[in-house]
Amino acid sequence: MRYGDFTPFDIVLLLQGLGVSLALFVSTTLIGLVIGTAWAVIRFYRVPVLMQAVTFVAELLKNSPVLVQLFLVFFGLPAFLKINVTPTEAALITLSGNSAAFIYVIAVSAIESVGRDQIEAARVFGLTRWQILRRVIAPQATAFAIGPLTGLLVNQLQVTSLISVIGVMDLTKVGNILNLRTLKPFLVWTAVGLLYYLTAKLVTYAGARFEKRLRAHTAWKGL
C-alpha cells in the first residue's frame, strides 16, 4: 500500500463526512425529542407499569456507554433476531434511543419546574390534564428546557463520532481513512477536531439565540 499526500478531494471527503455526522445528529435528535417527550408525558399521566418501564430503560441507557449500546444493536440484534441491521440503521436506532433517555430527564425536570400551584389553579378552572399540559405547562417547560437541551445537543453531537467504530462514513471515519493514507495524524485530527468544534459552537450559538427569542416572547411587555 502506498501512502499518499493530501489531495484537494480530501476536503470534499471531510465535508461529506461532516454531512453524514450532521444528518445523523439532526435526525436522531428529532426522533429522540419525540420519544423522550412521549416518555415524559407517560410519566406526567402516571401510567402504571409503562412509567416504571420507561424510567428503567432511560436509567439503563444513561448509565451505560453508547459504544456498548451501539455494539448491542449492530452486532447483537442481527445475531439474536436473525435480521439484517446496516451500520446506518444501528447508528439511527442507538443514537435516537440514547438522546431520548437524556431528553426524557430534561423534560421531566422541565415539567416539574412549573409550580404545583399553577397546575392546581388550572384544575380549579376545570381544565383537563391534557389542556393543562398543552396550555400551562408546555410553554413554560420549553423555555426552561432550552438551556439544558443545548448542553445535551453539544454532547450528542460528539457522541455521533462513535458510529465510526461500526463503519458509518461520518467525519471521524473519514479522519481515520485520511490518517491511514497520509500518515499525518496531527494535521488530520486537528482538521477533524476543528470541524467538530465549529459545529459545536454553532449549536451553542443557535441554542442561545433560540432561548433569547423564547424569553423575549414570554417577557412581560406591559399592558
Binding site: 448509565n63 456507554p65 456498548v68 448491542l72 445475531a79 477533524v192
Partner: protein
C-alpha cells in the same frame, strides 16, 4: 434464538481482567483529571487575565471536540513526534485531559460559590495566598463539588469504553473478543451494558455517601 447467559460463564475470568483494567484506567484518570481540574480551576478563578484566558481556552477545546478524536490525536500523533507510550498510558492521559476540562468547570463553580467574606477573613488574618487556597478555598469548594464531580467521574467510566478503539482490552475490548469467540454478541453486550450500569450506579451511591459524610456539619447552612 434462545437468550442463554450460561455460555458466558467460562469467559467470566477473562472479562474480569478487562474490568480490572477499566478500573485501573479510571482510577488513574480520576486522579489525573482532579489534579488538572484543580490547577485549571484555580487558573480560571485567578486574578491574572492571562492564566484565566488560557484556562478558558483549554476547557473550551476539550469540551467541544469528541473524545474519540482527541484519543486518536494522541494515539496516532504522539509517536510522530517521538513520544512512544503504550495504549494504556495514552488512554489514561487522554481521559485525564478531557476529564480535567469538565472537572475544572466544576471546581470553578465551587470556588465562585464560596462566601467572599470567608476569604476576606482569611486575608485580613495575614494568611498567604497559597495557604488561603489550600486551607480555605479548596476544602470548601471540594465539599460543595462532590456530587457534580461524581457525575463527571461516572462519565469518565462510560467514556473509558472508547479506549477499546486503540487496541486496549479493557472491559469493552475484552467483551468484543468474547463476543466474536462465542458468536453470542447479544448476550455478551447485554451483560456488558448491565455491568456498566451496575458499576456507575454503585459509584453514584458511594458518591452520595461521601457527600453526606463530608458535609455532615454543614446541614443547616451558614448564616
Amino acid at each position: 434464538m434462545k437468550f442463554d447467559l450460561s455460555i458466558l460463564a467460562k469467559h467470566i475470568p477473562f472479562l474480569l481482567e478487562g474490568a480490572w483494567l477499566t478500573l485501573q484506567a479510571c482510577a488513574l484518570a480520576v486522579i489525573g483529571s482532579l489534579v488538572l481540574g484543580l490547577v485549571v480551576g484555580a487558573m480560571r478563578t485567578s486574578a491574572s487575565p492571562l492564566l484565566n484566558r488560557l484556562a478558558a481556552i483549554y476547557i473550551d477545546i476539550f469540551r467541544n471536540i469528541p473524545f474519540i478524536v482527541q484519543l486518536f490525536f494522541f494515539y496516532y500523533g504522539l509517536p510522530e513526534i517521538g513520544i512512544y507510550i503504550d495504549a494504556f498510558t495514552t488512554g489514561v492521559v487522554a481521559l485525564s485531559i478531557a476529564g480535567g476540562a469538565f472537572t475544572s468547570d466544576v471546581i470553578r463553580s465551587g470556588i465562585l460559590a464560596i462566601d467572599p467574606g470567608v476569604i476576606e477573613a482569611a486575608q485580613v488574618s495575614g494568611l498567604r495566598k497559597i495557604t488561603i487556597f489550600r486551607k480555605i478555598i479548596l476544602p470548601i469548594a471540594l465539599r460543595a463539588s462532590v456530587r457534580p464531580l461524581g457525575s463527571v467521574f461516572i462519565n469518565l467510566i462510560l467514556t473509558s469504553s472508547i479506549l477499546s478503539t486503540i487496541t486496549l482490552n479493557e472491559l469493552t475490548g475484552s467483551a468484543k473478543i468474547v463476543a466474536s469467540n462465542t458468536f453470542r454478541p447479544f448476550e455478551v453486550y447485554f451483560v456488558l451494558l448491565v455491568a456498566y450500569a451496575a458499576l456507575t450506579y454503585s459509584v453514584s451511591i458511594l458518591i452520595g455517601m461521601l457527600h453526606r459524610y463530608l458535609n455532615r456539619h454543614q446541614e443547616e447552612g451558614a448564616v
